[in-house]
């Protein structure tokens, strides 16, 4: 007999049985929460032209995209992220009359990450985007909806770290730091490597006054009192506006009653340069990284030809479920199907019984005796 390939490639896997039905149930609960906030479903193609993703992705990450060619020689990419696709689609059709657009999506994303690091290459994402609304209320709705989605999955012990890209950007502009240096510092601050950020800034001859200010972002962690401290050191308008906005955001989140899940952290930045305002990540025990990420990206849509503010988040469902399991959270499982047996003589009766039960909404398996 020829050798049969029975296992899947690295980084992808089969999901079946109870695990699969649990996943569907949780996805449906989260989806239900999104619907309850008035979000409408959207579905975009699994692969797109490379250019759609080129804007948001820097050269190192471009290596991690699955790329292939069509007959005409265009480069196509399996989507690594939904946001650019939705921005493209929205700028084309959804944003015409300037009223807020709320969409939710779910599906798989693909990233060709390196082997043997325990990271999946195919991930199931569920997320939302809220476009044409630049208010603090929109920021708050996003975070409150995320809290409500995570709670609906059964999670209770989690933390959402909230920062604002504008605070750090303002400091960099004030200090006259060029884009390339800014990106290098951002990378170090994102991994909380402040001594590397410091030596980098010393190397590039940045004024020590600004070095101190930038390194201070590490200290603004906690509830709203962290924001008071941040307000005291910022001298430029952009940074001050960022802090003021976060303070307003905290007030609205208090109205939603979700403030206990929020911790401000002005060192929360993203490697994606397209974030312009509030940035947030949700953390819980049992997951190696954030289980959900989001933020405001007011310039991205403009790149597809329609200027509009937008904010969104995405939940990595596989990470969320594995974190829940590690925390011992009990899932509501699908009820097992009722068995109705038949033999050659009584098939008609058995069929009628099964049909009746199915009509009552029961799950029925018709089995031979």
């Amino acid at each position: 007999m020829s050798k049969v390939l029975l296992h899947t490639p690295d980084g992808v896997r089969d999901i079946y049985g109870e695990e699969c039905s649990d996943k569907k149930i949780i996805a449906e609960k989260i989806h239900g929460k999104m619907k309850s906030f008035g979000y409408q479903d959207i579905d975009t193609p699994t692969f797109e032209y490379f250019d759609v993703f080129a804007e948001e992705i820097n050269t190192t990450d471009a290596k991690e995209l699955y790329k292939f060619f069509d007959k005409e020689g265009n480069t196509l990419v399996l989507r690594p992220d939904f946001t650019p696709s939705i921005a493209r689609c929205a700028s084309k059709v959804l944003l015409e009359n300037g009223t807020p657009v709320r969409v939710c999506y779910e599906g798989k994303t693909f990233l060709n990450t390196s082997n043997l690091q325990g990271k999946l290459k195919e991930n199931y994402n569920i997320g939302v985007e809220l476009m044409n609304d630049d208010s603090v209320m929109a920021d708050a709705e996003m975070i409150a909806l995320l809290v409500s989605c995570l709670r609906s999955a059964g999670l209770s012990d989690f933390q959402i770290s909230v920062g604002d890209a504008g605070f750090y950007k303002g400091l960099c502009i004030e200090a006259g730091i060029d884009q390339e240096t800014e990106a290098a510092i951002r990378e170090q601050i994102t991994s909380k490597n402040y001594f590397a950020a410091e030596s980098l800034m010393n190397e590039r001859n940045i004024d020590s006054k600004y070095i101190d200010q930038i390194l201070k972002v590490s200290e603004f962690i906690g509830s709203d009192d962290a924001l008071d401290k941040a307000e005291n050191i910022a001298n430029n308008e952009m940074s001050l506006n960022a802090v003021k906005r976060l303070k307003k955001l905290y007030k609205v989140l208090t109205s939603y009653g979700v403030q206990k899940y929020i911790s401000f952290d002005l060192s929360v930045l993203s490697k994606f340069n397209y974030y312009t305002g509030v940035i947030f990540s949700a953390y819980t025990y049992g997951a190696p990284d954030a289980i959900a990420k989001g933020g405001r990206y007011d310039n991205l849509l403009g790149k597809y030809g329609k200027d509009a503010p937008a904010i969104g988040f995405v939940i990595i469902l596989d990470d969320l479920i594995s974190a829940c399991k590690r925390q011992g959270i009990e899932f509501e499982h699908e009820a097992s199907a009722i068995s109705v047996t038949y033999n050659e003589d009584n098939f008609d009766d058995a069929l009628k019984k099964a049909t009746d039960l199915r009509q009552q909404g029961k799950n029925v398996c018709l089995l031979h005796e």
């Binding site: 490597n193 590397a196 906690g222 819980t284 954030a290």
Partner: protein, 211 residues
Amino acid sequence: MRYLTFALGKGRLVESTMEILNKCGITCDEILDKKTRKLIFTNEELKLKFFLAKGPDVPTYVEYGAADIGIVGADTIMEEKRRVYEVLDLGFGKCRMCVCGPAEAKKLLEHRELIRVASKYPEIAKDYFFNQKHQTVDIIKLNGSVELGPIVNLSDVIVDIVETGSTLRENGLEVLEEICPLSARMIVNQVSMQMETERIRKLINDIKENL
């Protein structure tokens, strides 16, 4: 209160690490007892746990949250490229990552020829030769006694950690180029940093003051 778990890289870093922790009022003498067969050591008073792991595994334990905090050499962090926060340069365990070989191999590094490089750190070697020197090289991964490489003609040069250079000299090799300085680092799990912010930040500050 939840336990905070430390993963320490086995070997020469352990004593210096415990010395600094002692200065911060954190004790765990059992861990220094060479005869013990225990794998996990506990400080019940402060709700801390410690375990020893092979250096390259420390970032892995920390990435998955099996340990909240890790103490390990910068070489391992660069090689493993794990998603962890690198929060502190502890300053001890200082050494250098270098390209080494016999003196006559020096010219091979100038002419951008295709040469063979043996190393325990293939990622660091690759990054240095490809992205900084722009030299095409064949990298051979070895798991120990890398100095043998040039001696038995497996490779032209090696990329390895140099502390005093005495092993190199004894074997007729020398440092040809320095890649970067190294020292012990403290790394923190991304989730623990967010969930236990207060405790971990206090710990970092205490250690910083005692360096």
